[in-house]
């Protein structure tokens, strides 16, 4: 019996990352720009998606993948109700979507007809940050009632973001939310991060977000 050391040097999430790479190729070939939309439970992910659909239709065809830990179709039903294709992925209790789950979701969508694919991740500020799905950008919906300390408590998710949305600004008069403190935390984790303050209730700020997204979609089409 001999003992040998075997060099490995392999990322622990390598298997996930390889599938993510394939997902990205599939999306690129179909010409679908995709967003990994993350947030804590109740931040307004689905409301934000509905507002985005409203703002961009009819010029942009949007598909949605809904990730949930429980076998419910509440969110997918809301998207289907406004006439956009949505598939629901049940993670079977897992706290995040991974690339393999998204791959299964992509196979159920008419990707060639979709300009923008929004993947609504499981409501969670920790686990989704660790798993690349193969989407093009990471977006977080933070919300005023969650409190202004969230960047300080969940730094990892903020570090990996391409764009941040602060939802429920209509509640600012009622909640002790120090915007400066919040933004300083974000700045320390992700300097210069593109940020939009919106209210899905009143529609405030949605136009600015939609304009930015139109720009990203146009840029993606040119590549």
């Amino acid at each position: 019996m001999t003992v040998n050391r075997v060099q490995v040097v392999e990322n622990i999430l390598n298997a996930n990352d390889q599938v993510a790479q394939l997902n990205r190729q599939v999306l690129d070939q179909a010409g679908a720009f995709s967003i990994n939309l993350m947030a804590s439970p109740g931040a307004g992910k689905t409301s934000f998606i509905l507002k985005t659909i409203q703002a961009l239709r009819p010029e942009v065809n949007i598909g949605v993948v809904e990730g949930d830990t429980a076998p419910v179709t509440i969110d997918a039903d809301k998207i289907n109700a406004v006439g956009m294709p949505a598939v629901q992925i049940n993670t079977g209790g897992e706290c995040h979507l991974d690339a393999v789950m998204l791959k299964a979701g992509l196979q159920q969508l008419p990707l060639l007809e979709i300009d923008l694919l929004i993947v609504e991740n499981v409501g969670n500020l920790i686990c989704p940050a660790a798993f690349d799905l193969g989407t093009h950008i990471n977006l977080l919906v933070a919300s005023i009632p969650e409190g202004d300390d969230k960047p300080y408590k969940y730094p990892n998710i903020y570090r990996g973001l391409d764009v941040l949305v602060i939802n429920k600004t209509d509640l600012l008069p009622y909640i002790d939310f120090r915007m400066e403190y919040f933004r300083q935390g974000v700045e320390m984790l992700n300097p210069g991060l593109t940020t939009f303050a919106v209210s899905c209730k009143t529609g405030e700020g949605i136009d600015a977000w939609a304009d930015w997204l139109r720009g990203r979609l146009a840029a993606a089409k040119q590549v």
């Binding site: 001999t2 040998n4 050391r5 075997v6 060099q7 490995v8 040097v9 300097p191």
Partner: protein
Amino acid sequence: MHELAVTESILEIATRHAQQAEAARVTDIYLVIGQLSSIVDDSVQFYWDSMAENTICQGAQLHFKRIQARMRCQDCQGEFELASQLEPCPACGSYRLTVAAGDEFFMESIEVEKV
């Protein structure tokens, strides 16, 4: 808490490399985990003990090498060790920081027994 998925990956990677090396048994697994990777060692160990049972990795010892987080300041180009999660550059007070080290998350090597 995605340690379950992480532990599954550890088992898959170690098993694949052990088979390639035509090993009879894996005795040790060396993991390198940065301070900024939100992984709880005890939790991985907990899943590992039951998951590795009846595999080539049964009884293998997990070793966690933790890497101290280091930040690089975009303004003064200095580097410093991160004591807590969020703090400005101690040299110039800037908040424009990028991660220089501490987000590692990989398997460095395994030790195996060959017949």
